[in-house]
Amino acid sequence: MSHAFPFSAIVGQDAMKQAMLLTAIDAGIGGVLVFGDRGTGKSTAVRGLAALLPPITAIKGCPVNSATEADIPDWANVANREVGEKPTPVVDLPLGATEDRVVGALDIEKALAKGEKAFEAGLLARANRGYLYIDEVNLLEDHLVDLLLDVAQSGENLVEREGLSIRHPARFVLVGSGNPEEGELRPQLLDRFGLSVEVKSPKDIDTRIEVIKRRDAFDQDRAKFVKSWAKSDETIRKSIIAARKRLSKIRTSDAILKDCAALCLELGSDGLRGELTLLRAARAQAAFEGSSEITRAHLRAVAPMALSHRLRRDPLDEAGSTTRVMRTVEAVLP
């Protein structure tokens, strides 16, 4: 594979990077939606994240990246059962993908050559325990969206074909990116994303120059550029690993729970999903900062990305939902 642009070398776009790191610490937060201008490094960040994530321990030959031998699905004919390290899977779901390719299908080669029924795993299988990335998610065919919603909800992919009934785990962090001008996302899918961030082209001239400078250096000599940023990437990787360890030990006081509820009530976000995501994201943030309990500062840091896509639209308020969340945060959490 060619070199990916290093995650740590991305200039600015802090909210986007923060959101991605939080899902790397706690996959249960449930996905990131990145909406915004063209050419702001959305895809670059995802590919950079792939290179940065700590490897997972998995059965080497397993199509669904099972952690232990017991987890290998019975349909999989796994030759190499050795346990080893694999890079965290980051799977692209291209817009042109067929349903067969996404969910998996009968292995056509075996069917033709040997007259055998065998299952060939699809993209969802490969993404298990990792990331599924959809660029231009708002342009995805409706039937694929429905399928993804179902799998993302249940964490399991079920295929019925030719009298085969195949199921396998498909737990992944959904990362979607898109440009709102091309079309909006269905609310059902919107809700499935734990965090959402808006990205904008940098306005500040020095930032813009720095972006161009780094990109150009990368284009000139990729290997060298990646090497020069390897250390900063390594630092982030270590802090992710440390934060993951700390995660389960972080205390949550009743006052913080109350704050979460008050915030969501005030914003009128639908359902309880908002509160849960807010709490999980704040916990991951606390772990990342090395703190032992969640504080209001952590809530403040993650509230916009956890809640902004769950608000009802208000046509008279043109400030944008992120600003509305920030305003409410200031009012509710003095």
Binding site: P94, A111, L112, I205
Partner: protein, 569 residues
């Protein structure tokens, strides 16, 4: 040389730069109608890239052709799966024909293929006739060169010449070309002055400068290379005219001044006048010379077009299995009136016949079609359009205005059946607004409802707009495409809360107009006053709407104006 010849020479150079290494530049956006001039360019591209054929992508191409798929006949013949190679996986340069009608889904696929860095480059042939039409931004942003051929007469379009040895040398040289550290800043500043926000454009400019230096046989990017890069990559993307005037208030740049195109066939170019200026100003001057002459008009049209497409985006089309344009069939179940796509079903069943013959007992005869093979047809159709009339029923001339609006509505409905238009009517007067007619296609119902309309009182414009917006949101939720026509001759004098406060009323109206614009609802404001009403055109601007003064609006001219200004479904 005439300006047109100058431009043509710069296009010649642009194609030479492209031919050095097409892939990193993404491609060329070629805006021209079909004709000999465009043919010349394609011919030149063939010549420069030394091929005699570019694979073609057309807007209705199937995913299978783009990304490859199973070659059924070869697969069955050989007994093992044979994949066809997709156009996009091969790399190389492809032509996108009729780029103006390519849908965002196709553009996204192409953009994704470019980002995958497989050596692909795209020449987009855009034949947009109307202002605001044209290739979508997601792709055009990724194409370094934007060439507009409309102003070039056939006489200026000489056959292009390329020096293949020079190109080969440049190809070997450009990876080593260096540029000064200040170049980043200069290019970023020029981009900012031209209102180019995409950072990809700056990146493209930098690459073009490098290619240009390589073609000149230099290892160092010079001012002239930067200037050329600005002309080719940044100027055509300009969204504003740079304000920084050169210090000595230079006369408006004549086309021959900083343009001075180096033709690859004569490298000893005379010194450019632009070099007297400091680098940044010289670059700005270079850009100015290449700004499209109709920049401002075009920008306004683009802005209007973007709004009219608006946030509804993909929602404007819906898929179903009954009528409309056929799109790729997909696996599905029979029933619910779905129509089976027999060919696709047989295709999907074919590879499995051997296997099924083995495993099915007792052995049945004939074809084995299983449920999973079934493919159903899908059709796509444009969604219905709703025109929401917002009519001022206040003041003295209310009665006549309402009558004409009624006439226009009935006229439109009479023709609506063919065009799938729905019409709704909101009237505002006194303290608030009423929805007098919910979206309907029924002429009879309309006539009955609109028989007697009340009139008189204040002008609660904001309330009228708010009702219209609510209705627009509601109808777009039902899969229709709303647009709004406002008929008034007065200034807002009743605020949203119903109080007669002129200042507050004006502000409320402005806010509602902004909200409408935010929703991307296309709109038209028709001024029925005897002379243009002060402030109404400003309000239209805020709304992103067309402003049409129609002093003696009758039903016919009203419906014509609305037809002309609002996008057809």
């Amino acid at each position: 040389m005439t300006p047109a010849q100058d431009r043509w020479a710069s296009f010649n150079l642009a194609i030479a730069l492209f031919a050095i290494d097409p892939a990193p530049l993404g491609g060329i956006w070629l805006r021209a109608r079909v004709g000999p001039v465009r043919d010349r360019i394609i011919q030149a591209l063939n010549k420069a890239l030394e091929t005699d054929f570019f694979p073609r992508v057309h807007p209705n191409i199937s995913d299978e052709a783009l990304f490859g798929g199973l070659d059924l006949s070869a697969t069955l013949a050989t007994g093992r799966p044979i994949q066809t190679e997709g156009l996009l996986n091969k790399g190389g340069t492809v032509i996108l024909t009729m780029a103006e009608s390519a849908e965002s889904a196709l553009l996204a696929r192409l953009a994704g293929a470019l980002d995958a860095e497989t050596g692909l480059s795209i020449i987009a042939l855009d034949e947009a006739a109307e202002e605001g039409e044209g290739l979508g931004h997601s792709l055009s942003d990724r194409l370094a060169l934007h060439l507009q051929l409309d102003a070039i007469p056939q006489s200026a379009a000489q056959e292009m010449e390329f020096d293949s040895t020079a190109l080969a040398e440049a190809r070997a040289r450009f990876p080593h070309v260096q540029h000064a550290p200040d170049d980043y800043r200069d290019l970023c500043l020029v981009a900012e002055a031209l209102g180019v926000t995409s950072l990809r454009a700056v990146q493209h400019a930098l690459r073009l400068a490098r290619h240009s230096a390589a073609l000149m046989g230099s290892d160092q990017v010079e001012q002239a290379d930067l200037q050329l890069a600005v002309e080719l990559a940044l100027a055509p993307r300009a969204t504003q005219i740079p304000e920084t005037a050169p210090p000595e208030q230079a006369p408006p740049p004549q086309p021959q001044e900083p343009e001075a195109q180096e033709n690859p066939s004569d490298p000893e170019d005379p010194q450019k006048e632009g070099e007297d200026l400091p680098p940044f100003e010289a670059l700005i001057e270079a850009a100015k010379a290449m700004l499209p002459p109709d920049l401002l008009a075009r920008l306004a049209a683009q802005r209007a077009a973007r709004q009219s497409k608006g946030s509804s985006g993909t929602g404007n089309r819906k898929k179903g299995n009954h009528r409309g344009r056929p799109v790729a069939s997909r696996s599905g179940e029979l029933g619910g009136g779905a129509r089976i796509d027999l060919m696709a079903t047989l295709r999907s069943a074919a590879p499995w016949q051997g296997l099924r013959a083995h495993t099915t007992a007792p052995k049945p005869r004939g074809l084995h079609i299983r449920k999973s093979d079934i493919r159903v047809k899908q059709f796509e159709q444009s969604s219905d359009r709703v025109i929401i009339f917002v009519v001022d029923a206040s003041g003295s001339s209310a009665m006549s205005r309402m009558a004409e609006a009624k006439g226009a509505i009935e006229l439109m409905l009479a023709e609506a059946y063919a065009r799938r238009d729905h019409v709704a009517l909101v009237a505002f007067r006194g303290a608030g607004a009423d929805i007098l007619l919910n979206p309907t296609r029924s002429l009879v119902q309309t006539k009955r409802r609109l028989q007697d309309l009340p009139g008189g009182g204040g002008t609660p414009l904001a309330a009228g707009l708010k009702s219209a917006l609510d209705l627009a949101v509601l109808t777009s939720g039902k899969g229709m495409t709303p647009s709004i026509a406002v008929l008034t001759d007065g200034r807002a004098n009743v605020s949203l809360d119903g109080s007669a406060n002129r200042a507050q009323a004006g502000e409320d109206a402005q806010n509602m107009a902004k909200a409408l614009r935010g929703r991307g609802v296309p709109a038209i404001v028709i001024d029925t006053g005897q002379r243009p009403t002060r402030g109404l055109d400003d309000l239209a601007k805020v709304m992103g709407a067309a402003y049409v003064p129609l002093p003696r609006a009758d039903a016919k001219s009203l419906s014509a104006a609305v037809e002309a200004a609002l996008p057809s479904a």
